[in-house]
């Protein structure tokens, strides 16, 4: 992003929208971590994190905190559980990349705990790709599905009745 760095803003939040953040300025770090702490905290194969040079501003609500080790804090939405933050000591807070409103703009360049990679990660390209709706019936269901997920942008009020933004 070659825009004016000061104008660069990233927003995001949890699935239900009770907790929202805003990051001012360019991202200075984007990584995935395969360590067992990050795996279990995210219920996933790895945790993806990004941070700017400054702390995020919480524009709605605040994350609940779990102290996962002496100096590490992990934040999550107390209402819907979305993992949101990682902070080591006094270092700047990193945010879960999947929680950003536009995660496709944030490409990780660093991989931590390579030795603990889930074996799947080496075979990503071999996975059979299926569409979300396999049958006409499933696609019909998706078409009318009423989503309670917060939209991928800031909103003036919450809860919002956004309905159907998948």
């Amino acid at each position: 992003m070659a825009q004016n760095a000061k104008a660069e803003v990233h927003t995001g939040g949890c699935q239900c929208g009770a907790v929202r953040f805003r990051l001012q300025g360019p991202l200075v770090h984007a990584s995935i971590c395969n360590c067992r702490m990050c795996q279990k905290a995210f219920g996933n194969f790895f945790a993806p994190f990004a941070n700017a040079a400054t702390e995020p501003v919480w524009t709605r609500g605040k994350p609940a905190i779990f102290r996962s080790s002496e100096r590490a804090e992990r934040g999550f939405c107390p209402q819907c559980g979305t993992p949101l933050t990682y902070r080591w000591g006094d270092e700047v807070t990193a945010l879960a990349i999947g929680a950003f409103d536009h995660p496709n703009e944030i490409v990780p360049t660093i991989e931590f705990a390579h030795e603990n990679r889930h074996p799947f990660l080496n075979h990503i390209a071999d996975l059979k790709a299926e569409p979300l709706g396999l049958t006409d019936e499933e696609r019909d269901i998706l078409a009318i599905l009423k989503s309670f997920q917060h939209p991928d942008r800031d909103t003036d009020t919450w809860p919002v009745n956004n309905g159907g933004e998948l």
Partner: protein, 162 residues
């Protein structure tokens, strides 16, 4: 296949006596945002083969048909469930031994992130192990509050500082 798992802090634990043949990752934006990640890795377990062995998850109804469960104490995403279906889909990373259940398929490819295929090829020079982390890695291992990757008879447990 007998499997156990739970959240990071150990307040919520579960056990499955059999899993379905549908381990997959889902890229849809609902799964991405619910898990703060690029995808959610899931496998179905018939409700008859599943039980909570400690605590109970918090839930968020992410859409009319779907409920998502998480630990209220530490936030770990734990499951996806169609409330009218007969099975629960557990997050593979919450298993005590996630390597035992490799995903076979990927769904929601419409929302697949553009760099997904490049993940296995992140710059090797920047790839660090926990041993490279020096004092930081040692301090994390010494003071971890993560529940061990097996069932425990009491919780909180001193063993979580292993």
């Amino acid at each position: 296949m007998e499997l156990s798992g739970g959240c990071q802090c150990g307040a919520v634990r579960y056990r499955a006596t059999a899993i379905q043949d549908n381990a997959h990752i889902c890229h849809c934006r609902m799964c991405q945002k619910a898990s703060g990640n690029y995808f959610a890795p899931l496998v179905g377990v018939a409700m008859a083969d599943f039980r909570w062995t400690r605590g109970a998850p918090g839930t968020f109804r992410s859409s009319e048909p779907v409920e998502r469960g998480f630990c209220r104490d530490c936030g770990t995403p734990l499951y996806y469930r169609n409330v009218q279906g007969g099975h629960i889909s557990i997050m593979l990373g919450s298993l005590d031994e996630p390597a035992r259940v490799p995903p076979l398929r990927q769904y929601g490819n419409e929302a697949r992130l553009p760099f997904f295929d490049d993940l296995p090829h992140l710059d090797g020079r920047s790839s660090r192990t926990e041993d490279d982390m020096g004092d930081l890695g040692v301090l994390i291992r010494r003071t971890t509050h993560q529940h061990p990757d097996h069932d425990t008879s009491i919780w909180p447990t001193k063993e979580s500082h292993e």
